[in-house]
Subunit: 237 residues, 2 copies
DNA sequence: CGAGCCGTTGAGGGGATTCAAGCTCAGTGG
DNA sequence: CCACTGAGCTTGAATCCCCTCAACGGCTCG
């Protein structure tokens, strides 16, 4: 895990320059702050880069920071009462990760990078400090909480029901939303199983079927290209 | 839907008396407020009672209030991209419902009473007004958001995976948490199907099997009694 | 009393799992 | 250089669980 401290990149507005220039500013947590607000953020935010399969935080751990995703995809995993690993949610650019830290609570699941990941680490103390003064920040926080809830509910509705083929199609549709023009992160078969509640063999068979149908093209290095138009058609019946 | 306005129950502390006396105060949204804080809440909170199967709010609707559950169980429903109704989450005493209203957003799902339901209706304006002054209220709000997220993730992990019998056992375990000493709300078979992604026939067969095993006893009027000890044992293998 | 809703149970078929073998490919070391 | 190894993926065959289609019973209500 490589850490890039963001302070002192500019002597006058140390963090401000970085956050203003941030590629995800409009969708990021501090997008709600004006320049003056950003000016108060000094050396508190750090940019992290994680390789794929690295863990951002662990279930049961008590953290003191939340993260916003600048680029990449990450997954939230838990172990069920019966000892099976299940992936319960994904997050991508602009999403907030590890909100439990704001409540002084242990993280509810493992957060693991799917792709190489860039995140901003925001200490709880900073949020608490700014939160008191800036109502927009609280609003933005609540909006992100709601987005996560929505994602989790949509997961139940779309990815956890119906036959295997449709579940996989729905998963590819979600992954497409994180990628660019059809280029997606392609999970391992065992991971597909953990997301859709299938065995890895069934996942493999379904992937093969979509490849035969020309809907999906596997690329080297855990990537793939999906035919967005064909995907929509396949999903609609 | 019967509405009981809560103002003027006491001339000096109109709402305060009610909220202080509230049976769920410790776990309710305004439990974080002290007496002085409660004193500022005048005629703004109303107590509602809904019969079973009544809708508290509808998907797509823009509301201007959130609700806290005082008693009863309610469910959140959505229609999938393929037109099937799915139940994605449950809420019970102390849970917050309709948070989308705080963000000026449309509700993300239907909220329907499972049992006769008592809720407090809290206007958005009240939360906005108090939220600026009282940081504890914001904390309490965030905690409830996180609880909902946790519930949704647990739903994915526990109720949406494994064989039908285990899913039903997991569902009964959750329902037991809402009820008292084994007395639970017993969903219709079709509703069990909508929660666990099963057909109503399969749900019925599994219910029958649990009855034969002495784990579950059906009572008149959509109620049932579960053997908590036997349930734990059955779940653990 | 018939209509409709809800629940139960049966028979048959289909889709997912299980068990198993073989494949590709990258890394390792003889 | 190439066999050796192990991880990930694919495919086949048999089994099993759940779905589909169907019939029927209890109950409420017009």
């Amino acid at each position: 895990m490589s850490v890039v401290p963001l302070y002192r990149l500019d002597s006058r507005h140390p963090q401000a320059q970085v956050c203003l220039a941030c590629e995800v500013r409009r969708s990021a947590l501090f997008g709600a702050l004006d320049e003056e607000g950003l000016d108060r953020i000094h050396a508190h935010i750090a940019s992290l880069e994680l390789p794929a399969d690295a863990r951002l935080h662990a279930l049961g751990e008590r953290g003191d920071a939340v993260y916003t995703v600048r680029s990449g995809v990450l997954r939230f995993e838990r172990v069920t009462a019966h000892g099976e690993r299940r992936i319960v949610r994904l997050a991508g650019r602009g999403d907030l990760v590890g909100q439990e830290a704001l409540l002084h609570r242990a993280y509810a699941d493992d957060a693991v990078a799917c792709t190489p990941l860039q995140v901003c680490r925001i200490p709880r103390s900073l949020v608490e400090h700014l939160g008191g003064q800036r109502a927009e920040l609280m609003r933005e926080l609540m909006a992100r909480w709601q987005r996560a809830l929505d994602e989790a509910e949509a997961w139940v509705a779309e990815l956890a029901s119906g036959p295997a083929r449709r579940r996989l199609l729905a998963l590819l549709a979600r992954l497409s939303a994180y990628g660019e023009d059809g280029l997606i992160w392609m999970p391992r078969r065992e991971e597909i199983g953990a997301m859709l509640d299938l065995t890895l063999e069934t996942a493999s068979r379904q992937v093969s079927a979509l490849r035969r149908d020309g809907l999906l093209e596997l690329l080297p290095g855990r990537a793939a290209r999906v035919d967005a138009a064909a995907l929509r058609i396949a999903l609609s019946r």
